[in-house]
């Protein structure tokens, strides 16, 4: 059977879409954890993770400019009001680890931290 040029293009587009779909599936297979920041806390403040399981932290600031910093996993990002910030974190060791706001954000800044529990 002879394939028309139009049919070829459609078939090619389908392949491209399928390939893109694979990529989307690959990305969406990583667990997304929304994390809100506000004066002076993270919500959630305790995040449970599995060792070697990559996750996407979806950070949103609900009042002022903040920072997210997990020194043990070398992950940090500014968290800017009005913007969604995604950071990828792959916990390569088990244990309990502190994350913190590393932008001095007000008189409760020093209590603004949370815990990563990696099992």
């Amino acid at each position: 059977m002879r394939r028309t040029r139009r049919g070829f293009l459609l078939a090619g587009g389908g392949l491209a879409l399928a390939a893109a779909g694979v990529r989307v599936l690959a990305q969406s297979s990583e667990r997304v954890i929304p994390v809100r920041t506000f004066k002076f806390a993270f919500d959630p403040s305790v995040i449970e993770l599995k060792k070697d399981e990559p996750v996407i932290l979806e950070l949103t600031a609900h009042d002022v400019f903040m920072g997210f910093n997990s020194p043990d996993f070398h992950v940090r990002s500014d968290v800017v009001p009005g913007k969604v910030t995604r950071v990828r974190l792959v916990p390569d060791k088990a244990g309990t680890f502190t994350f913190l706001c590393d932008i001095f954000c007000g008189d409760g800044h020093e209590s603004m931290h949370g815990t990563l529990i990696v099992t």
């Binding site: 400019f65 680890f97 913190l100 590393d102 001095f104 008189d107 931290h113």
Partner: protein
Amino acid sequence: MGIDRRTFLQLAAAGGGAVFASSLAGCASLGGAGREFHFVQLSDSHWGFQGPAVNPDPRGTLPRAIDAVNALGEKPDFIVFTGDLTNTTDDPDERRRRLAEFKQVVAKLENPHVRFMPGEHDASLDRGEAWKEFFGETHYVFDHRGVHFIVIDNVSDPAARIGEAQLAWLKDDLSRQPKDQPIVVFTHRPLFDLMPQWDWTTRDGAEAIAMLMPFQHVTVFYGHIHQEHHHRTEHIAHHSAKSLIFPLPIPGSVPKREPVKWDAQAPYRGLGFREAEPDRREEWALQEYLVSGRPA
């Protein structure tokens, strides 16, 4: 018969009361005629702090320390406050009230030669704007008895950075110093990664340390962590000072960085100030004092 201060330091050292920086290196070749002097370091007074569980005498602790400094047998050449003069507040008017009150309180120091720098509590919420109104520039240099002193501001940026402009300023200043020039750095946060999980770091501190590394005699005095701590990055010594409001835990000793509770059986425990003196053995000798003025 009285004893002079140097003899006292030597005796105190024999009794374990003084830390001689010989074991810590980073000491300056400062001995010899014309270079004998000492300074006093006070830090982290957090004027305006309220928290009876950790310090029921927040307005009395700094004045006690000032009385003790005034009563020292040998007067220091100068006094330095390494930041967090005031406790932070979100209210700009209240920030200025606290800075003004602090300035009135420390005016009781009999020694007129007092150097200041901000901590993050003073300066991070307005990039040092209010602090400058009372104390001037947040980074500067001065020379005293053959030692080059550099004050580095790592707090006006709320992200705990020294910043490109100040690093360029530092590089320019150091370019005019011979490599054997004794250098002392005063700053608030540790320049090295002491405990990033507790925000005890300077994000670009490694760049400043790299610039200082070629110099043979560099010592850093800082505050921020509310306790005495000694560290080396190669030959550069870093000494943190006690606070004048509440102690903080030993790095990593507890899960959370919370102030140590007040002990009614031992009031003011963990608080104090220090003297630093370049001695004849090409070292910095440190003498720690309690708030009362008794050697620690």
